[in-house]
Symmetry: C2
Subunit: 171 residues, 2 copies
DNA sequence: CTCAATTACCTTGAATTCAAGATATAATTT
DNA sequence: AAATTATATCTTGAATTCAAGGTAATTGAG
């Protein structure tokens, strides 16, 4: 059975419920934090549609895109990759094994350090990610198209501000 | 090994890399979509800190909070729950089994429909979630405290707008 | 009224992700 | 210089999540 959801603005309804059940609490921060999570969840689905057209999952796209962004020779150490992608090293290993199996990357031992490996985008991987990135960016443009330029600017500015707060180490 | 990240504003750096490597693409939507995902990821960690103080994981909190919000007698069908929580029915079953094992909910057959069950918050579950919600809301207030009232309003307004677009069925 | 077909509800097997462990290098002390 | 501690890199076992399947109830036609 598939997950479903009938939301209008579900978050507003949740806030009303809390107001009714726990009037002693000021739940207003949920108006921001709840909607943020919800937007991210819905976006994930939209973006995955494009990835799947290239037989890629979200994380596969991310790995290939990171190598691509690094520039020629499209070669990075696994540690650099998993730090950039904010995943654990174990997850990284599995992902690289899988991508190597599909011939999208190659892994070679690092001659200068037996602990380390060198991950490189294969020609096939390079061609694939170059196409996929173009489609991905086009998809993102389409998703945000209903937003006027001023709305986009306001949203981005707000997110920059929030991100600065969240990244501040003095939690 | 733990995941790490050294971001200043990592998204800005990524945009610059794409500009250098693929000047033919206008990657500006990533400025919004990338930061949104990043904010959500960082928030998750912050919120989990509070949940763990009550020996709750994020999903456990969500289930109990949904039952609590519903109001007395804090009783819902599993289907209502998994639709609200946007998870699959299989995941729901496991979670309810676990919560029942901890004595936080009870499950009884529905007398009107042998297919269905009734999930109810136990007294212990009610007491726990009432405490945890208060702490959670306080935590959210603390997280957003650096934002001025006007900034909060602008951010929320932007998110409401974006959410409306993303929820529009005409994908 | 009976039976078939659709719908709705819940439990089990495959895939993904994380925490802990094993090995190799570097740094420090004696 | 040898030994020891500490750091860094990558691969494996435990837990969580999703897709497919089985069972019960409702609907509608004959």
């Amino acid at each position: 059975m598939q997950r479903t959801d009938t939301s209008g603005d579900a978050v507003a309804a949740i806030l009303q419920q809390w107001q009714r059940e726990r009037p002693d609490l000021d739940a207003s921060p949920m108006g921001i934090i709840g909607r943020l999570g919800r937007c991210t969840a819905l976006l994930r689905g939209r973006l995955d549609e494009t990835f799947s057209r290239f037989d890629l999952s979200s994380w596969e796209f991310d790995v290939l895109a990171t190598l691509r962004r690094a520039g020629s020779p499209h070669c990075l150490a696994p540690t650099t990759l998993f730090r950039t992608l904010m995943i654990t090293s174990g997850t990284m290993t599995r992902q690289l094994q899988q991508l190597e199996g599909r011939g999208l990357i190659s892994r070679q031992p690092n001659p200068d350090d037996a602990r380390s490996q060198l991950v490189q985008l294969s020609p096939a991987g390079l061609a694939l990610i170059d196409e996929a990135v173009a489609a991905h960016v086009a998809n993102e443009h389409a998703i945000l198209a209903p937003l006027a330029a001023a709305e986009r600017a306001q949203l981005e500015q707000s997110l920059i501000r929030l991100l600065a707060i969240l990244e501040t180490p003095g939690d």
